[in-house]
């Protein structure tokens, strides 16, 4: 089985979010970038397939040269080779279009992407990619097994979960649950040394225009300070929720 894991290069969760150029650009100053948490679960599941069932695992990112340390980290975790499509990730559609070309050129059976990235949270790339290449698609995937060309997946739904059966070629939007968090891999010294020798191929982008354009950013209005209610005066809390906040 040939597996492609899509790796999004995102600001670390604890990053302070700021904008520059008149609030039109994300300020990367002092921001540490990491593998998107949802993709980390997918990458670890891919390693499981590789080790237990025999599979090759490539990772891919659409982005500039600055994303290479993130791809090297994925190689250090155990991916066989990495591909970087040399173009900025402008919107979900344009990224999916670039990925579609990589999947078609590489003949992958299974594409594991994250449910969503933690920067734009659009949850659109995996579904769009599946639509473009005509593969089956399972979103919010929390368990995946593959037997030959048949796959069984569990996906999270509002208020529960659902078990589905499908076939390869398949794209999933994966998340926590695909593997236990305690099984997530951290690159070790040997992995880091080996990653240096693994191929990281840079491919030039295909034609793909973005369909959306972020014009400006804003931060939520500063919050007023919390109104504290005495623990012995819970009547007051009920009163505030009813009369002031109007939520009960």
């Amino acid at each position: 089985m040939k597996i492609l894991v899509c790796i999004s290069h995102v600001p670390d969760t604890t990053s302070k979010i700021n904008f520059t150029d008149g609030d039109t650009k994300f300020d990367t100053n002092g921001v540490q970038f990491v593998i998107n948490p949802n993709d980390e679960f997918g990458l670890t599941r891919a390693m499981w397939f590789k080790e237990k069932q025999g599979a090759s695992v490539d990772v891919v990112n659409v982005g500039g040269a600055e994303t290479e340390p993130t791809l090297r980290k994925a190689l250090a975790i155990g991916a066989d080779s990495a591909i970087r499509v040399n173009t900025p990730a402008t919107d979900g559609y344009a990224v999916a279009k670039q990925l579609a070309k990589v999947v078609n050129d590489g003949g992958y059976d299974l594409v594991i992407a994250g449910r969503e990235s933690i920067d734009y949270n659009g949850a659109m790339v995996p579904g769009m990619l599946a639509g473009m290449i005509g593969a089956n698609f399972v979103a919010n995937c929390i368990s995946l097994e593959v037997d030959g060309t048949n796959a069984k997946a569990v996906r999270e739904i509002d208020g529960g979960k659902e078990t589905v059966s499908t076939t390869l070629p398949l794209v999933i939007g994966g998340q926590k649950g695909l593997v236990e968090e305690s099984d997530l891999r951290i690159p070790n010294m040997r992995g880091i040394m080996m990653a240096r020798k693994k191929p990281l191929t840079v491919v030039e982008p295909t034609d793909a225009n973005a369909e959306t354009k972020a014009l400006s950013f804003e931060k939520p209005a500063p919050k007023g300070t919390v109104k504290l209610v005495d623990a012995d005066n819970i009547d007051e809390l009920v009163n505030l929720l009813h009369n002031e906040a109007k939520v009960i």
Partner: protein, 320 residues
Amino acid sequence: MSILVYTESENGKLKKAALEVVSYAKAIADQMGTSVTAVAVNADNAETLGNYGASKVLLVKDDSLKAFNAKKYAAIIENAAKNEGAKVVVVSSSANSKYLAPLLAVGLDAGYVANVVEAPSSVSPFTVKHSAFTNKAFANTEITTDVKIVGLSNNSFGLVDSGGSASVEGFSPSIPDSGVTVESVDKATDKVSIADAEIVVSGGRGLKGPENWGMIEELAEVLGAATACSKPVSDLGWRPHGEHVGQTGKPVASNLYIAIGISGAIQHLAGINASKVKVVINTDPEAPFFKAADYGVVGDAFEVVPKLIEKLKAFKAANA
């Protein structure tokens, strides 16, 4: 050239989010000088969508569509959008709508923006505001394609009863093979789900153990709320994984979020920041959650929550 909305239902009953997306679509239609057509699948009371601004409902009745299927449902909406010549398609932010929207975007060659929180600031160019960076910021984004898809964040627009009426027409487009078969669904039917809930009551590690969740459930029941938890709580197996909210868990966009014994770590706040009013109950006055909350009680959950339940019961009785 109407606005098309996909309205979700469950067991024949339209969801609240369905009424909200129609209300929202009506606002866009008014801005653009056009009307709203809704698509509903197996809904029993489709005509009620008229109250919220739909003038026409395309109703698909088909037993083979009982279980949600993203590709089939996307094909239905795509068909309807093409028939109606719709320039804007609105969907909700439920897990199912977020599943089908990217497929629909490819089918319609439409730009799609998810997590939209307001009516468009302009319809020409078509510009919407949506949350980004796990609710730490908003982006104003223009959709540049001819057909546009808007994914509305739940509870962000509210319901607007416009007192209109809708004609309901049967609709039976051809539906493709989906390639994905639902084998089984495991869902507590009597519980409010986090995505649908207007109120969410959430417990953290401060509750000390699963045996103490009785009061959380009781509080949720009094409020008609969904229950949720922080990540360590589900990691410890005190609560099911589906209840974990935050960056790596479920997103919450409720009107009221009550956090009990939760510290308010940034990854937790990322998932719940879209909630409108936040109440925190915590023994530690330095807990970071107090900075994010609207109302706070510095106190022991084991004393405060039973009191809150008692007071709310009295309030409900007095306001029944």
